[in-house]
């Protein structure tokens, strides 16, 4: 692919990107959210048309205008979410849309042998009559690969194939990938797991903001370099701390998590939080930031470890329990997990306190109105009145409403997951100021963010995550972009 560009309304998703994959290699495509990975893949597989540039296979320019054409040219794709149908049998999944016919009717006997044959290519031997959903995720993933793999497949695109697999299952998948590589198939591998890249990839291409910012053999691209390419700063740049932090840890930890974790979601981790302290959660996309936040809040049920708040153990961990113990959580995805679009601004805000009080002691209308007005003023929520349905506000204001809901319960521990995502610069500064002010008042804060600068600006300590594992903690006075990136890369400074 040479000089490929694609613009969507308002964004230039790809800007003259060159991307070369050779036969018989595993090529990792890396980049943070919005870097252009998906767009590049979609152009390659015919789901999206390019604006400029050309695509060549074996040196010959080709046109790929639809997924069908891509498949005919030997480009097979396995998308991130397995798009097979779990309730259908393996046979049906493998032959869907290309069922062998006999006298115009589907011949299931031929279909079954066809399915077995396809699986044999990957050395999988399973009962093809069982519904796909009854197999493990790893096997489902392999079936998806079997479906994408034709006799004449030259390029196989795997988009986050290991996202929901555990270590053993991922290893199984890698064996098959190596096997395919040995047969001369070019494999494009997209993942957020750094370890896996170094385990399986021969070459790496790094995208950032729609541009190709680096390409090279895996051996010549050390972790440190890779991460700074992805995040977009050279380490030589000296980082200045924004300003001295006025706050700091005070006294005994208010929150203590020991060995908290859940299989397939997050490896067990320890974390403490003191009043007046801000702890940041840093890591690349998919490293487990949200998972840590949700495990602590009980939104994901931990299957190991324990959590104490103010010295008392929370026995059955759930959001309701956490709330009663003085925690509050501000989720990352406000549309899906934050707002109640139909309910008014007032109702959305008071819900935070109402759930804590229970359904019997309803906040009176005047109290609700007072709380809502207070929050609308404190956070500068732009709404004509508190009775407007939240769904009609702008994104930034919706985010503020969600924040207001978590503040209104008067928490002593506040967990913010991506507090500034999708917020304009002005609101961004307001929220950072607010975070600092809250801490000065003795609130303990846990902030997960993909914006390193933001984390550095507000955090006393930063817990660093990689591949769903907590790999280190950077103490106060040492929080700089460089130490974080070094820690993510695994090279202690």
């Amino acid at each position: 692919m040479l000089g490929v560009s694609k613009a969507f309304p308002g964004v230039r998703a790809l800007d003259c990107v060159d991307f070369r994959v050779q036969a018989g290699e595993v090529h990792a495509l890396m980049g943070e959210n919005g870097a252009g990975k998906s767009t590049l893949i979609k152009i390659m597989t015919g789901a999206v048309r390019r604006d400029e540039g050309e695509i060549r296979i074996d040196g010959r320019p080709v046109e790929i205008n639809s997924p069908g054409e891509a498949r005919a040219l030997g480009v097979g794709t396995v998308y991130q979410e397995v798009n097979l149908i779990p309730t259908m049998s393996v046979t049906r999944n493998l032959t869907l849309g290309r069922q062998p016919r006999r006298f115009g009717l589907i011949s299931w006997r031929t279909a079954r042998s066809l399915a077995r044959e396809r699986l044999k290519r990957l050395r999988i031997d399973i009962d093809v009559e069982r519904p796909l959903g009854s197999f493990s995720l790893a096997v489902q993933q392999l079936v998806a690969i079997a479906r994408a793999l034709e006799d004449d497949t030259r390029v196989l695109v795997l988009d986050e194939p290991t996202a929901s697999l555990d270590a053993d299952e991922a290893e199984l998948l890698f064996q098959i990938v190596r096997d395919l590589k040995g047969r001369g198939i070019a494999i494009v591998f997209i993942t957020h797991f750094l370890d896996q890249v170094y385990k399986i990839a021969d070459r790496i291409s790094v995208l950032r903001n729609g541009r190709l910012v680096g390409e090279g053999a895996t051996a010549e691209l050390p972790r440190l370099k890779l991460i700074s390419l992805m995040l977009g700063r050279e380490l030589e740049e000296t980082e200045e701390r924004l300003e001295a932090l006025p706050h700091g840890a005070k006294g005994e930890p208010i929150l203590r998590a020991e060995g908290l974790g859940r299989r397939r979601v997050m490896a067990p981790f320890d974390l403490t939080l003191r009043p007046g302290e801000v702890v940041g959660l840093a890591g690349l996309l998919g490293s487990g930031r949200t998972e840590v936040a949700k495990l602590i809040f009980g939104a994901i049920r931990p299957d190991s470890g324990r959590i104490e708040v103010g010295g008392a153990r929370i026995a059955s961990h759930s959001p309701g329990q956490s709330l009663r113990h003085g925690m509050a959580f501000c989720p990352e995805d406000r549309k899906a997990e934050g707002i109640f679009a139909e309910l008014s601004v007032r109702e959305n805000i008071v819900l935070g306190l109402q759930t804590k009080r229970g359904w019997l002691s309803r906040l009176s209308y005047s109290e609700q109105e007072r709380l809502a007005q207070e929050m609308i003023e404190a956070l500068g929520i732009a709404t004509p009145d508190a009775d407007k349905p939240v769904g009609q506000l702008s994104g930034g204001n919706q985010q503020k409403v969600v924040l207001a809901r978590s503040l209104v319960s008067g928490p002593s521990i506040l967990i913010l997951d991506e507090p500034t995502r999708g917020i304009d610069v002005g609101a961004h500064a307001e929220i950072v100021t607010l975070i600092r002010k809250l801490c000065a008042e003795g609130l303990a804060l846990l902030v997960a963010s993909s914006e390193l600068d933001e984390l550095i600006a507000v955090s006393d300590r930063i817990a660093v995550l990689r591949d769903r594992r907590m790999i280190g903690e950077i103490g106060s006075g040492d929080v700089t972009r460089e130490t974080i990136i070094r820690t993510i890369a695994g090279a202690r400074s």
Partner: protein
């Protein structure tokens, strides 16, 4: 439609522009402008229109007389006949507010009728029988709640189970003492159903009392807010610390209780346990009443007053078709036609299109 407002317009399509029922009504009702913007205006107009047509067709439609010490007339008749459906619809509105649905209400009525007849035949005190009937409603609600909240079965399927089996259960209860459509007499229960207190039929008074009690429960505790949160965005409700399972249980139990009350009224009205035909299709009328009242099947909002209005519109239609001299065979089709008109009138999109298309002319 602007691109960004996709979600809002979608959910607002079949829904009047509205806020909560607790919203400050006085300032809202300032002048006609405010009234025109209120969500009740279109259903109210529809009801007024139906009644006006009746008045034009049959003179004396609005006459209310006192016969044998009770109020008598078409308007009272509409209220009287609408009451069971209206109460069932109130329960339905609560369930629909949680993004659920309860198809089993008609079957609950059948079971309640059978239980009443059976227990009266067994010689239980009639007050105990009444309590047993309401307990049956609670049990049915718990069963539906269990299927929906604990087993996580889709509400339409979960309540279909009781909808199908309920009438069979009613027939089996009849068999317990060997009766086909056994009848009973009970001054207490019949008093609740067809009796009157002073001039007013008892069932109208009780219906109003149930409405009041439910309104207090929904709007004077935080239960309504929790119900609407669970229906509006289950994931967000969970993160906000709401026990969605308990809330759903509550919704189905409320709905079961409402259906049980309707069962008492309808069974006492007919003096018999007739599980095959008692309360037949009442679930459909109830859902319709909720929707006419502006409730959306995608959940998130509960309008109690509007739901009662919806039930009244449905009954007014039926009554007016019967009094208008149209053959009763026309009933269902005319009803369907009027219902779709009422629903379209409530659509923000259509209203916007109309006011654009006929500028100057007011609908």
């Amino acid at each position: 439609m602007t691109p960004g407002s996709n979600v809002e317009t979608k959910t607002a399509a079949l829904r009047p522009r509205a806020n909560t029922e607790t919203a400050a009504l006085p300032q809202r009702l300032h002048g006609l402008r405010a009234l025109a913007g209120h969500r009740a205006i279109w259903p109210l107009l529809a009801l007024a229109l139906i009644l006006a047509v009746d008045g034009a067709i049959s003179p004396g439609f609005f006459n209310v007389r006192i016969v044998e010490g009770r109020l008598f007339g078409n308007l009272i008749d509409i209220l009287y006949r609408a009451m069971p459906t209206a109460v069932v619809a109130l329960g339905m509105a609560v369930v629909i507010g949680t993004k659920g649905i309860d198809l089993s209400v008609g079957s609950v009525i059948a079971i309640v009728g059978a239980v009443i007849t059976w227990r009266i035949h067994s010689g239980d005190p009639h007050l105990v029988v009444l309590m047993a009937a309401l307990a049956v409603g609670v049990l049915c609600g718990l069963w539906n709640g269990f299927l929906v909240a604990v087993l996580d079965i889709q509400p339409i399927i979960a309540t279909l189970i009781l909808m199908v089996s309920g009438r069979g259960i009613g027939l089996m209860i009849n068999l317990l003492y060997g009766g086909t459509n056994p009848s009973f007499t009970s001054p207490l229960l019949q008093g609740l159903s067809v009796g009157h207190i002073g001039l007013v039929p008892t069932r109208i008074i009780l219906g109003a009392a149930i409405f009041g009690a439910l309104w207090l429960l929904i709007r004077r505790t935080a239960l309504g807010l929790f119900l609407e949160s669970v229906g509006g965005n289950a994931a967000a409700a969970d993160l906000a610390g709401i026990n969605a399972r308990l809330i759903k249980y509550a919704a189905y139990v409320i709905c079961g209780l409402c259906a049980a009350w309707a069962g008492v009224v309808l069974a006492a009205d007919t003096h018999t346990s007739d599980p095959v035909s008692i309360g037949l299709y009442i679930e459909l009328d109830a859902i319709l009443a909720v929707v006419i009242g502006g409730g959306s099947l995608s959940g998130g909002r509960i309008y109690l007053g509007m739901t009662v209005l919806g039930a009244l519109i449905i009954q007014a239609l039926t009554t007016s078709i019967l009094t208008s001299g149209l053959p009763p065979e026309y009933n269902l089709v005319v009803k369907a036609f009027v219902v779709i008109v009422v629903l379209l009138l409530q659509s923000d999109n259509l209203r916007a299109a109309l006011s654009k298309g006929f500028t100057g002319r007011k609908r």
